[in-house]
Structure formats: C-alpha cells, structure tokens
Symmetry: C2
Subunit: 147 residues, 2 copies
DNA sequence: GACATTTGAATAGCCCGCTATGCAATAATA
DNA sequence: TATTATTGCATAGCGGGCTATTCAAATGTC
C-alpha cells in the first residue's frame, strides 16, 4: 500500500533520465547525433581504436546493445569497424573525421543540457546529486548482482 | 574538452535509471509484469477506470507510448479498454482481477528494489536524493519546453 | 594434432521510449 | 446545418536497452 510514486527513487530516476535524454536529443539532433551514441563517442574521443569489448566494459552496457549502437554509428559515418590484426575475433572501432569534428559541438551541447536541466539546483545541490548517483552506481555495478 | 562522464548528471542519471530498471525487471518477472506497466498500474490501482488521456497526463509520458503499453497490458490480461459511453473518442481503462491481485506483491517488489538500490546511502542521503530529483522534475516538466 | 573450451561479436526478438502522421468522434462556427 | 477545428486514440517507424542464442576465432588439454 501507500506506494507514493513521487517518493520512489526508481520512479523518479526514470523520469529524470527521460527528461535529460529528451533535452540532449533536441540539442544534438542538428549535429546528426542521437543520445545513444554519446557514451561511445566520449570514450573514442579519448582513446580511438578501442575494442568493442573494451567499450562494453567501460560503459557498463550489454554487448549486443553496443554492437547494435556501433552498427548504427557505422551506418551514419561516425566510425568504422576493423578486425584486429593479431586476433581475428576482436573488432577495433575507429572514429571517422566527421566524428572527430563533432567533439567540440557535441560536448558543448551535453554540457549545456546538463546545466539547463540542473538550473533549479544550487551549486552544492548539484555536487550532492552527482555524488549520490556515483555512490549508488559504485555500490551496485561494483559488487553487483553477478548472476 | 574535459567532459568527465562520471561528473555528468545526465550520464549518471541514465546509468542509475538502467540499474533500477534492471533490478525491478528481475523482481517482477515472476509476476508476469514488466517495468513499463508499473506506472500505469500504480495509477489504476488507485483510480480504476481512468482515461488513456488522464494516464498520459499523470505519468508525463507521450500518448503513443501509453497506447502501446496499454495494448501490451491488454494482451497480457492486465486491463481491458472500453469506449466511454458519453464520448466515443475516449478509452477507459479497467483493471482485470489478475491485475488487482498483483498489487501487493508488485508494490512489495518495487519497494524492495528501491531499498536495495539505495542501500549504500544513509537515510538522510536517500531523502536528499529523492528531494533533488523532485526539484529537477518540477522545474523541468512544470514550466517545461512546450514546443 | 584433434578435440573441447573459452572468448568476442553478431543476430533474433522483445520492451519501452520518442516523433510524425492518420482517423474518427465531438465541438465550434459561418 | 454544413463546414471547420479540435480532441483522443491508433499506427508506422525508429532509437536504444535487454536476454537468449549462434558463430567463428583463439586457447587449452589429452
């Protein structure tokens, strides 16, 4: 009984995530990007040529989800996938020029969206919010429910 | 530059939302429920016979998403949809016996998941977390970006 | 060296969110 | 009252998440 949805962390976090995603989507659409590509791009901008497996681990996302996202990214001319020379199983992911050029505007858009969505929070509240989420993630995916 | 993803609220909130959803999914699968039905069920358990439109407004979700979710729910024997007598456009949504019986175990599962996911937070941190998210939602969807 | 195991990626199929669009019923208006 | 506008819902199509399964390459083991 008495499950007040506006007091349920799970309910709220889903709502907030949707708001963030929608905002980001609007902002990066002009760049020809969609939100799902963002995490992969962030990693690749820092470390071009990562393996699909490495992306999966770094982003804590399931392998088929990553494979699917990368397929879309390749289709859209953001990356190319090449087999590793020394191991025929692994796919290495390389950014295209276009993707490299998008770094500045895309990061700017994401930062703007973050700022905007949290505009109603005071500075210390923002830091708190981020810190709390990191704590949850750490506890959860760190020693998480390995099946 | 220097967009640290572990400091980006948008990035983190997406991650946390995924963790919550996966946890809930595992917990309610035995009941034959999926996470997407939860918000609608919560409303209907309190107010059976709501309109699709009313659900859309209360849950801040797009109309086609709701229509789709309700179609799945009807398929799975959770609700039935009946045209309103006095207005042939509106669909009223009525719970089945099965859905009513699921209230207790489903709510228990959600509460357990919430508790579990936030187990690493102190009590006051949990309250803070919830309060911050409500603040964000209020500022955002309240006077939000009406196109 | 042959066979079994492990590992990385791809595919199939589903849930659930979105936008854009179409359609039928009602309400408003000339 | 005939036409137009509005309103509520459904459909099409896609992005992005998941699980389960398959496949090929590499590794281990006998």
């Amino acid at each position: 009984m008495d499950f007040a949805k506006d007091q349920s962390a799970g309910y709220l976090v889903n709502h907030v995530a949707r708001l963030f995603e929608q905002g980001l989507k609007r902002r990066i659409r002009p760049l020809g990007l969609s939100p799902g590509t963002f995490p992969a791009l962030l990693e690749l901008w820092e470390h071009d040529g990562l393996t699909q497996k490495e992306l999966v681990i770094r982003l804590d996302i399931e392998q088929p989800t990553m494979a699917n996202t990368l397929a879309r990214m390749e289709r859209d001319g953001l990356v190319i996938r090449k087999k590793d020379d020394s191991d025929g199983r692994v796919q290495r992911i390389w950014l295209t020029d276009r993707a490299r050029e998008l770094q500045r505007p895309a990061v700017a858009a994401a930062m703007a969206e973050n700022a905007d969505a949290m505009a109603s929070l005071a500075d210390h509240e923002r830091e708190l919010f981020v810190a709390l989420m990191r704590k949850i993630i750490k506890a959860r995916s760190g020693s998480g429910s390995r099946r």
